[in-house]
Symmetry: D3
Subunit: 324 residues, 6 copies
């Protein structure tokens, strides 16, 4: 199956390849009375697709979340790429893992892992260093940590996003400790590394990015604090005050109760972690949205439902300059 | 020390007895340049007191939070009772426990304990019944649960307040399950009984009602959920779904994120628990404030800092009728 | 008129029966250029329906809010039941009352009426007892009170919903007075019984649940207080203080100004009524939404526009247990 | 009673006259152990006063809210005028009405009454004209309407303030109807004239400006609407739609639910009334505060507790110019 | 070009004329697979239109924002007027200016200009009079000021809307200074005249009403203050204090920070301007929405997305009376 | 004048030295009837002081904001240092500049200036580099920039605070550009360097930290944007788009309208600047408050009026560790 990836498709050409079905709806319309309206994705992007023939029959052959092998034509519809599919066939799970078709971090995840390991080694406090190490020593934890997305839909919403976000927050915290040497560097780094590990239980990313039941009913803030406290409890001689400070930092890292932290930051390290985390999430969100709109030749993004505003993309030259 | 309790003092009479020093301030004023301004309390109430003579010396002899033996006169100042103390002497801790001098529930705590035990027995689900039982089987837990206050300052802020509040919420939940038989009665009762046990770690009540460090930095919502989940983990065969629902109910029982719940209620039992708890806390708060103002002969309470309003006490007769 | 009710329809079978037209839209599409897109309802539920033939003509024959006699086929469309209608005919108003086709409380309304009458008799204060009695003595009031819905769309939004909601609030208030004997039981019960009678003027429920003009421009809170105060004015010797307390309770029963109460609760009875009412509305809302989603085999409800969250339905077995 | 009024007192001179006791507190301090700390007022302003001698005895002779005859000296304390009283004596109520000593509108109330009567005559709709007339025909209503303050403490908080505020709102509404001839002029004028008559029951102004019980528990918005609707009900043939529109305007005139309107404005006349009323209240509040600070030679007012800001007074010359 | 204007079209008649394309979308549907869905407008209103034949070809011939010459039929669709177009042809820009087809104030703009000039002459302060004059002396400024809309979509959203809104605010401010002679009339009038001139840079109105880049990124509040301050800087001897007061009034005229004012009003003239401006915008918004719904025979408007409510139109007769 | 600085005073010793009078109040009390209650400060801190003898006379000799030479005794009062002054004498302005007695950054301001100059040189874009350079080339600007405080009372509220805050934000932005190379580094750095220069006009710091009139009425956000835009206008060939982006960043740097930004961030560089600035301000605020409380031996700070919470100081050892 040597098909092209979505980023490489161009209108007017035949398409043949494997994609993940991100959305599937049978709609009324077309000559045949009904048609299939799909969104396909692979790790490079998403594209709408239509099945006009025998849709009522074809819809029985696969589900949302399946990988399918398709053939058809790439067309333009209202200025955007769209596929007209002639054949669609479900690929058995043993042949193709849906998660390979999800959007994916463009960072070298191996390099991120190495960098995190380096930073862990610089933690001077032996308890905190051992705490961080104890997580990454576990292969299952590592596998999950370096594939999990950073969020369902906002910032870092791609495979590897959690690790990418964590590394960025760690780098920012290193800069913060350089500016404010009064901060407890070891505590801040340990908390930065572990602050979002609750996301590994909050989210699922097998066939799509979604919340788990425990993610909705308990949430990553409480889940993450539980994992860290349990791990610290297992380490001999881990100071109670340090446990308390870590729990506080994990619980308060969203900064305000409105955003789901049961307590607000009350230490300098907690407020630093919150702001570093927030800065990273927001800049990632802005850059991702602006890049997407620039790729479509727009000067402004769509109004973002959560930010409540459109973002300025600017003229192409200005953008090009900025990226130099 | 057969002194009168504060509720029984009357102006114009000598005073002799033991009280807890709830507040102590050395102030500039009086003939001697400085005087001591105290608030004394016992389980029946609070009274202001002054030491006019040798205050600079007397202030060295005891601390806020100590029990003291005093003698002096009860006077009236601006229409309210006030003590003029002639002698003040610290009572050694082995002779008097400060906690005996804190305000105290007027309910029979033994009867509350019995009532709770009865309700626990009616829980049909064996896992939930054993969970609740496992807490109350522990004598240290019982001692703490039946002395802890329900809050630092708002509702049920007295020794035994946690137990009183819990029993009231349980009675209300019983009524709610009668109205809505679709609710999972066992789940709602178990959660009602355990919903505030985090307060036992959040608050301290040795010499005054205050927050502990972990109470401020982690809070009773997360602490309570931890204790319940850990206890459920220790019970063999406790269903995972039930654990999840219990965790959700404890975490969401404040109803909104603004009030410190990291997640909002998403099950019918969780919303029922939240509202039963809120109803009980608010009615207790209103009744306590109105009773206090009525005792002072007022027609309106002072504006309450948290409610943002004064409460209506009404005419004495109306009050008398209401209490019949 | 021997047609099946909506709850009993199944796909693949012919349909013949009478339904209320809850929504009617002429849309562009289908072979004929236009088709009719309907929602039909009866007291057991709602179902979408299409008229594909001669829609431009058929649409002239009836209005939204009419009862129609139809024949056609029950089909499945995207996993949900849908009717394909062949004939549609308006039923004259004298033959069928639209209100019989509206959703309807599943409680025995006669039993509710009896229960309310019993509770009224237990009101010790003769003025308050006579006030409550004076409303229910009036047959027109009774007819309206026992058919009105409890709200347009949220909780208790069905024929008989006002009476059902009122009875539930009364039961909860009885439990509250058991827990807090200091409350004025007579006042609380009288107010609970009458608290929402303004809904009888705020809402209309002839052919659908909707707001009346006076309902929008004045609202049930002010309307209800007016009816109660006017009734009390007509009773000889009704104490002014009691009138004032009742007016206050009716006006403040939404709890905060944001939710439309011109004054906030300032008495213990007012805060108790508000919380009992809110508890009842919210638990009803949660249970109704969860039951609807469970009937569709879902594990989570749709995100609720007003609650701003999805509700957890859980696995079928858990649900089954809970309902035992 | 040939004493000077407060506005005419100057430091260093003896004082003799009658004033209203707006505040009375017995405080600890001074040579004698206690002293009396008073605020005296008359219709021209307020001044602090102290009784240093025999305060414990003197305090028994009069109450807050009494008119007293005093003699003593005017002094300066921290840059502000203060009285040192030597004699204080209660004036019997039959000799002096406290209300004459309250702050008072500087407008000619007779002229306001005449102007309102003129405007009423220009109302073309006979029902609305008769409605407005029916109130002012009643001498008791007139007496109350032309003495009531406009608020307890914010804008127009002086005897005659309600009439002054009403006239100003009426003038502004006349301008609004000139700009927007589509508005129903008769409806807007009638509502403007009657919009705040609930204040006559909400406030008391015998010895001070304060809320009545019904003012707190029901509020002037609902009270005013009741009076207007009852009056319209008494007029034969008053159109129901007009009653509804008037009720809506009175209920919604605070503009938002947060500010105590149970419904928000939904007609053009209602929104116009709200904004005219708000404009008048706010400009009066700003001008009053700025004038007070300018009289004290300040360049900025104190931070206003409700506005959450200080107001700019500016340099004296600028102020002088502005007043030209 | 002798076509009818949109306000004069009636169903069942042929249409021939020139309109501006306000919206253009190629949709799937109809016999030919795709059709064109358009909104056309001229200065008298808007009308939906469809092109059923050769839509894929026709769509290439013109853009949104073009003026087109069309022929076809006026039909009724779901009770509203709709055009079925047979020919559509772009009109070259030199033949037709899109701005002539935008909605347009129904006021006589020449009269507004004359009225503003008169008011400017009554400004007594020579600096302020010269400041206002200096703007209107500039022909380019005048041309822009008397064509700009007052907003993109809310109030006064039509050609000439800025001038109309400004004149209305000026009239209201004249009334305010009559009620409050303490206000600095010259300052208030000058600020009222210039308060929204930033809109001339914030909005574009060549082919539609939209924000400019600088309008989004800087906003009319800051832009207007810059223009006024720069103009004052160019005038010799303009008092610094007056400049400061003017800057403050322009910056604070939205009243609160939430609505985009970087500072809140701190002078009486600033609060007066804010409220006069707000009153005018809101009454215009209400009247426009109500008039639109009345023209469609509705008794309530649609729920307004920004006001969060529907507005009451009432019965036709009531409406007719109101307009007399 | 070889007196000790405030940080070096200890109780029980005579005091002689020069201090700035930060607060002066004549109060009633003490043997003489009145006494002077002062707060004195120098660059190392603040201390309360009393004048018990001849206070009515002494108060005439100096004003708040004056530098005074004093002699007296250092005492302890309620556990805190307090001065009892015997002589107080105003020091003529030519002998002592008040600003030398204000709190002062503990950073080396020369080093900050050097560091900023280095960073300016690394700006690649010649227009932006020249813009930044043009400000610092001006000696008066430099003098003001390197003495101004960063705020009146919250973060960096000391002489040199503006420069210290700016440098910290610049360092953080350098880290942000390392993490996000897509950002326009030159734009972000230039804006970071200039973002708060409006504070130089907003605040005064001659004898105390306070707002200027223009600071209150216009504010540093608008003032800073004006200075930067004017400077860019003076530079030949400065690109319009860059001006627009800079204006946007300065105006939006408070992040939300509620905090005084007239527009919210709509570019990635703007959101990065906002968050870097906020992080720096908050961490400084936390560290300052915690250090102050630790110096007093407290385990928690007082509740902070703006943060709405107390901050955790912890045990001394933990603190000591953190500072290693």
């Amino acid at each position: 199956m040597s098909g092209k990836s979505i980023a490489d498709l161009s209108p007017g050409n035949p398409v043949e390849g494997r994609f993940l079905v991100a959305r599937k709806e049978l709609r009324q319309g077309g000559r045949a009375g009904v048609y299939l309206d799909l969104t396909l994705c692979d790790s490079t992007g998403r594209v709408p697709a239509k099945v006009w023939e025998k849709a009522a029959e074809v819809t029985e052959w696969f589900q949302q979340g399946d990988v399918v092998a398709v053939s058809g034509m790439a067309e333009t519809y209202r200025g955007e790429l769209q596929l007209r599919l002639e054949t669609v066939r479900a690929v058995p799970p043993e042949e193709a893992s849906p998660s390979e078709f999800l959007p994916r971090s463009q960072k070298d995840l191996g390099a991120l892992e190495k960098r995190l390991a380096e930073v862990v080694k610089t933690i001077g406090d032996p308890h905190l260093r051992e705490l961080a190490t104890s997580f990454f020593r576990d292969a299952a934890f590592r596998r999950s940590f370096f594939t999990a997305p950073g969020a369902k839909a906002l910032h870092h919403a791609y495979i590897g996003g959690l690790a990418e976000h964590t590394c960025e927050v760690v780098e920012l915290c290193l800069a913060v400790t350089a500016v404010f040497p009064q901060l407890d560097r070891d505590l801040l780094l340990a908390a930065a590394i572990l602050h979002d590990i609750g996301k590994m239980e909050e989210l699922s990313w097998e066939t799509a990015f979604d919340y788990t039941d425990v993610g909705q009913l308990v949430g990553h803030i409480v889940l993450g604090e539980q994992r860290v406290r349990e791990a610290a409890d297992r380490l001999e001689g881990f100071p109670e005050e340090t446990k308390l400070l870590l729990s506080h930092m994990l619980l308060s890292h969203h900064g305000t109760k409105e955003f789901g932290s049961p307590v607000v930051p009350m230490t300098a390290e907690a407020i630093a972690l919150h702001h570093a985390e927030d800065l990273d999430a927001k800049v990632n969100l802005f850059l991702t949205n602006i890049a997407g709109a620039r790729a479509q030749g727009r000067r402004w993004t769509e109004r973002h439902y959560l930010l409540g505003r459109a973002l300025y993309v600017g003229s192409e030259e200005a953008g090009a300059d900025a990226a130099d």
